[in-house]
Symmetry: C2
Subunit: 218 residues, 2 copies
């Protein structure tokens, strides 16, 4: 988790540059806390963005989907992709309309994925995906059978070229606006789990990893 | 809010097709509840995905950024873009690893934006963006001055070609797995505002629209 991503033209934050970095540890913390990524690729008619689940596995990002998905097939074939993960932390209410903003932590990754075909490796990656969702779950869930493995396209995207962008802290009002009689500050936003809802046919007591679920990254 | 988007090849959900639609009302509800979108465009080296704030204004999506942003300049110049907004509702814990999933509501929009230059129109759009963030805020915040207006690039993207994809409900376990002694169900996730944090220099009482803030879309 030490060190920096390589800084390339496309992965370098230029606007408000002090918010940007290539810091691996920060990127990994954001990826581990997030649940949904948005994958961009270039289709025949232009850009396409698709939401997906993911997990970080060491220095790779794991993506998966159906073998029947055309977009997933292109991703697995090594199409150039860009993956964004954004965590929203707060609404930033400045005194001026202009300085309204959001506090967020985001990672944008560039690269090409590679298909995972080895069966044992594929099983391990699917466990990682489930663990990322709910830590503790992979030891309990019924493991994939041959048919399910064959129906899943699994892709490993190396975390080599990426940027992190973070806004934090109070509103950045102009000095001249600071005395205005307008409330200014943050409305923090949190992703909170509500009480688990057992399946209709469930006959098992709620396990601790479900009852105590919280989203801090896995 | 009635009717459907035009169904094109790229905007038609094929995988698990019953989850997809072109329903305008559903799309608008998702856009109004969300806060962050991911904008995809094709750069010189391949796809680029950037997180952004946005607001819906009738049948258009509003995007904005700095006039100094190269990507924003390309978006304002009418580059083909794809915009994704995803709301995460629950983690879906099936008995099998294979059927683990997430409940979500997502919109993916395709099109080309057009720059808004008219000053009065630009002011109205910036108010919409602030209102989308915090309803009630735009009447209070200090309006943009000429310099701030000139520093803002504002883009209107027509909501014409878009798809909605929704997963809801319990896990979809295979019949044979339903008797397994494994807990199955949902962990609902909510975006909840925490207590507002006034700015250090704030001398104004917290207004009701801040104190009672909740995220249901505006």
């Amino acid at each position: 988790m030490e060190g920096e991503f390589k800084a390339t033209d496309r992965s370098t934050v230029r606007r408000v540059a002090e918010r940007g970095s290539h810091d691996r540890a920060r990127a990994y913390a954001i990826l581990d806390e997030g649940l949904v990524c948005h994958v961009g690729l270039t289709g025949s008619e232009g850009p396409v963005v698709i939401p997906m689940g993911y997990a970080r596995d060491g220095d790779d990002l794991l993506l998966h989907g159906s073998v029947a998905s055309r977009l997933m097939q292109r991703i697995a074939a090594g199409a150039e992709i860009c993956v964004g993960v954004t965590l929203l932390d707060a609404l930033v209410l400045a005194r001026s309309t202009f300085h309204h903003s959001m506090n967020y932590r985001s990672v944008v990754i560039f690269g090409r994925g590679a298909r995972v075909d080895d069966e044992a490796e594929k099983r391990r990656c699917l466990d990682r995906l489930v663990e990322h969702l709910v830590p503790g779950r992979s030891v309990e869930a019924r493991a994939p059978n041959r048919k399910e493995l064959a129906a899943t396209l699994l892709v490993r995207l190396p975390l080599e070229e990426a940027s992190v962008k973070i806004r934090s802290g109070p509103p950045s009002d102009n000095h001249a606006d600071q005395g205005l009689p307008i409330w200014a500050g943050l409305i923090p936003l949190e992703t909170t789990p509500a009480a688990a809802v057992p399946d209709e046919l469930n006959q098992v007591q709620t396990p601790a990893y479900v009852a105590n679920y919280s989203r801090k990254g896995g």
